[in-house]
Symmetry: C2
Subunit: 337 residues, 2 copies
């Protein structure tokens, strides 16, 4: 019998339909072999030596003359940095100039080093860079929401294989984010507590869906996971906005992020995924009802007409089982380094 | 300069970023060659002669002994038909038995005939079958919303190539649909008119984005299209629920649906797409503020981290240009038959 499950934070329902399923260990088998990339590609604009092929750097972390993490404006930006944001009418229709920021965060000089496979010190630099760019762009008065994300692999929508994240700073709060905040606010009204705080305390109590835990963060497969192996990494300390993160917390975030990505990588042979930092709009950064977190969505299934038409996702595996599968593999192979 | 556009019905923003773009005529070129299928596949459970390989038929349209359109329960249903729907607590978490209906509507005995390539009389039969199943399942008191959709092609999420649509009848109204209805309701409060009615009257006035028009329906590329060549087919007569459609209106729907799909097929060489019938929840079927319509989303781009994190889609072409491109091709090649 299939099962509906509600994500209490977003109020989304998902369907667990195990009859349509593969067991957790079968996801690895059905995937096509991935392209292998060399450690350096002379034609790649993100590889060292090709810096002149990209727009001018806005930030970098360096060791001597060499950059270790590099941030550049997107060469084909979805939004332009200069200009005033103003909503306009065109008769019945509503539009605005595409103002905002769109940056690329190059994780490493290495062309073929995925985020999870980097040394911990390098993942720390990536997280510290996320923080730096967030704090810098947050100062721009027209910016309302900052989205940081990584598209890993071709099916996850990346066009350049050199490991990188992106940052889009929006001058508006999209409707879907407003709805998310409203649902969280309602939960707060009803329970006097942040729904994410309640969720993590439940997850830590049952442990069934937890895949990694540190003093400051917990990683788990949510009760109402949209896709197999969906993973949330949530800071234990309540904060609505990502901008609240300290440098020392960035290092702790790097540790659990690396461990989580490494587990996925080893168990599913480097799956394509989208990684998102889900943070409150800037004006809501101090609120009690939202809680920033990292969401990792492996691309193991294709959302199709039903998902598009209903917003309800069909997941063919139980998150309890995928989490157990990862924990058992980890126990067998020893702790990821 | 990129542009934000708001879908006034859903309140979603999209970004038109032409700098990242292909021209409308380039979409055809970049697509991989599609697999060709034979007219009959002895191993296909949906081909005539293999009826015993599927669950028992729930409906069919026949000519003599042969079926022309056939409806069966999905062999691996996302929801089970029998049982009571009841929302339950599991400590903090909320779940329910996966009750509902999940059916497959086989469009034609022909293994390789896409919906747009069928004879008009056959497309009419498909639309009449949509109506029949909708009206039948609507009678089930536990059903709150019926989603009818077609996943055409592998990238659109189909697993069996034999042309078919699916129907999922849900015992709940998903959060995203509630939000959609609320936005439409607010527009109605502010303007005393259905936002979709206003939208189609604007589209018919400017004609810029219209690609097909009959006495009863209009097909256009929405002002805030999520993807290149997104198409809405909207009945001119206001009705919130698809269940209001008459048999004669089904035939008219078939005509514009065939013309629209044929245009897309010829201009983009049979693109993969998702087709959705977007209808109000059953209890809202008589409301003044919602308006059922068909949404066709060609799979010409991959929604990635930004779309997942913000709900904002980046479209690389102007709907005015894609619509003009289709109209010009139609004018050159004569009216689709």
């Amino acid at each position: 019998m299939p099962e509906f499950r509600q994500n209490r934070a977003t109020k989304e329902w998902i369907i667990i339909a195990k009859e349509r399923a593969k067991r957790p260990d079968q996801f690895k088998l059905r995937r096509k072999k991935k392209k292998e990339f060399p450690p350096f590609d002379p034609g790649c604009p993100f590889c060292p030596g090709n810096e002149s092929k990209t727009p001018s750097e806005v930030f970098s972390l360096r060791k001597g003359k060499r950059w270790q993490v590099r941030v550049i404006p997107n060469k084909y930006p979805a939004l332009a940095s200069e200009g005033q944001f103003l909503i306009q009418r065109e008769g019945f229709f509503i539009k605005a100039r595409g103002i905002g920021h769109h940056e690329v965060i190059i994780h490493t000089p290495g062309h073929n080093r995925s985020l999870g496979s980097l040394a911990l010190s390098q993942v720390e630099k990536v997280c510290l860079t996320y923080r730096r760019r967030y704090l810098d762009l947050e100062k721009d008065k027209k910016i309302k929401l900052i989205i940081i994300f990584e598209n890993h692999g071709e099916t996850a929508g990346t066009s350049l294989p050199h490991p990188h994240s992106q940052l889009v700073a929006l001058p508006l709060v999209p409707a879907s984010i407003r709805h998310l905040l409203e649902e969280a606010m309602r939960y707060y009204d009803d329970h006097g507590c942040c729904v994410f705080c309640d969720m993590i305390s439940q997850e830590l109590k049952t442990k069934k869906r937890v895949v990694a835990r540190t003093e400051d963060f917990v990683a788990f497969h949510p009760f109402a996971s949209r896709t197999p192996f969906e993973t949330w990494i949530v800071p234990l300390k309540h904060n609505a906005g990502f901008g609240s993160i300290t440098e020392s917390e960035c290092r702790k975030m790097a540790k659990i992020l690396k461990a989580t990505l490494q587990m996925l990588d080893k168990s599913l042979s480097d799956p394509d995924y989208n990684l998102l930092i889900r943070t409150a709009p800037i004006k809501d950064a101090q609120e009690d009802y939202y809680h920033w977190h990292v969401q990792i969505l492996p691309r193991l299934s294709t959302p199709a007409g039903f998902e598009l038409g209903s917003g309800v996702f069909i997941n063919t595996t139980l998150p309890e089982e995928t989490a157990q599968f990862l924990r058992e593999r980890k126990a067998k192979k020893g702790k990821p380094t």
